[in-house]
Amino acid sequence: MTKSLTLALPSKGAIAEPTINFLRDCGLRVEKPNQRQYTGLIPAIPSLSVLFQRVTDVLYKVADGTAQIGITGLDVVKENPHNNVVVVHSALGFGQCSLVVAVPEMWVDVENMPDLLDVALDFREQKQRNIRIATKYPLLSRQFLHDHGIHHFTLVKAEGAIEAAPTLGYADIIIDLTQTGTTLRENHLKILSDGIIIDSQACLIGNRQALQENPEYLNTLRILIEYVDATQHGRGYFQLVANVKGTSAEEIAEKVAANPITRGLQGPTISQIYPSNDQHENNEHWFTVTIIVANTNLLPAMEHIRTIGGSQTIVSPVRYIFLEQSPIFQQLLKIL
């Protein structure tokens, strides 16, 4: 019997629902038989079971081996480094946010980190106390501040609405996650121009030792990564199917490939259409051209297809693109 690989997923918080949606979009629908339970399954991969945990606990469960893989925020992983946790995929493409240094808007003399260094020294020299910084990220904050020469500060550990700390008076500035900056602005805070500590998003992590020692775990993870990798590749492209009139498949192929945008991943696929006799004209035939184009090139590609006589073009999103090998999985094998 195959050993079941446990995938820890966030049960609540900002990335909980997006995680379920992301997996569903990859063809990996998560089923939770009982809403009160913390377990689930993914029917597409029978050897995978799901464990729901809080977003920080996902990391701890993977670190201690209760779950062998998990999805959590990159900020959580960087803030809680663990030798036995390896980042399998650092950019799942959702849950984007940044950990930033934000100061009161009324500090008009402070625009960047050198300014903040100067002000931190002012606090010490003029007010005989350290500048107080509210954050949930003591490790990353401390490293970043020290890297910018700020050595005298007091971190105020806080949970919940950190952005209110300067207004409430229990901190002078904050270091917190932001997506759009709206909440910060509403609380009269501004982000320093060079105050971005990390850009974070959801990531896939794994327990190094468990993956090294269990080929079955690694194989199940490979299947999961294949789905994710192929989906993410597919998202960047559209499939175009157009009917083009011409004398031969070779002639059509030449016309389509003349433009790099419509050349496709390898080249166009051309197949002849066999119409009824009354539609046959001047020794010309209809051909179906199938190509894959990058999202950003859809309209230029359409234009080109039209210029070579294409019509009735159907455009569909690409669900998956499986490459020869999954680059993410190959990368994982290197770091394991």
């Binding site: 008009v108 003399d109 625009e111 260094l117 500048i131 300067p166």
Partner: protein
Amino acid sequence: MLPNQPRRSQSELTGRRTTHILATLNKHMQLYGYNLIELPVIDSADLFLVKAGDQIINSLFTFERQGKQFALRPEFTASAADYFANSEGDAVVRWQFAGSIFDDSFHESNTNHEQLSIGAELIGLEGSLADAEIIAMSANGLDKLGILDTQITIGHVGLIRELLRQFNLDIRTQRFLLHHIPALNDADKGKQWIFDQFIDQFTLTQNQSGPTIGTYSEANSGASLTMGGRTQDDIMRRMRLKQQRLADRDNVSTAIDYLDKWCQISETPEKTFSYLSKLIQGNAGAELLLKEWREVVSLLEAHQVPLSQIMIKPDLARSWEYYTGIVFELHSSGIHIGGGGRYDELARLIGSKAGTPAVGYAYYGDRLINSLSNTNLEFSPVITIVSNNDDMVSATKWANQIRNCGLPVQILPKVMRNPLGTDDLFLENPTTAHFQTSKYDFQQIDLLINDLKRVR
């Protein structure tokens, strides 16, 4: 190899050298009136950051407990100054210290995060007498250890600070320049690099965004709101300071040129002092400091430190921010094995109301140990007791009697000591022992002990 000539591991050899160094230096420093003190291994990280700043932050071994940041000590000076500031003892103290210091920097060459540090602090006494005493004691201590090729390099941070005053720069700009002095002699950096860093770090571009002092003052007239612990006065004051720094850019450039000239000097005391006295002519404060510096060198001669060992280097850099006077380094065979200096401001920086005169030094203990690697230090011979019938109770009784008379003893089972060593004590039965060619009864153990002492 004979059983009574044990093989020594590297760790035992290091231990023997360490014991020798600690005992020799402890005795040496006691002759100057320095008492050994114990200082905490773990202390508030802030305490160490005050003194060390940028130099040490990346290698500080820190951890957090209940929201407070602690660190394993990276050196002794800050702890000693803190202890002095918070104790009600004598006005002048002479302390020596020895123990582990910790370094959390991770690079290939650093596999050992724990190092030995040995040194001294003289707190409460100012002037050349104290400076010379510390330098001489550190150099003479190396003599006592048999390290004879010591070179002493002496600089003076206080004199540079005094000279920088003529450029009317604010304290933070002065500190910046002092901190960057080593870059003047760095082929990849130099004067322009320092100036660019200054502009960059103090964000002094000409076309600054944001309101000017005038518009800010107008927009906020009459308002007294504060947020983030700063008042509008704080913000205005800093805006004025930034404006002042912008105006002082040319002065900073001139000051860097001046320091560059200063850094070219590296000579014998006689030549350097003669050159420096011309350079500072007319600056009364600087002349006074130079006079004190000369006195230090004269006192070093009185301390029997040969002038040939002394090199004057005005730009010598040692934690520039908080040293306030003489600074020095000790080198042996090109290896930096210690150093120190005067740090009168440290007590104030760590919370005392006033500054306290203080000067100190430290040896890099592990480098001292390495420098003694070719020195043959004998191990104290240990008497081995072997019992004929492995009667460990009797063997222990004999051993304790001998130990009580100050002789080191170990007990080994017979099976582990075959053949017997020529100087082993062999227990024939509980009351009879053989040593060399003689036989002793337990009642006559004093006789045995006398013979053991004689042989040793």
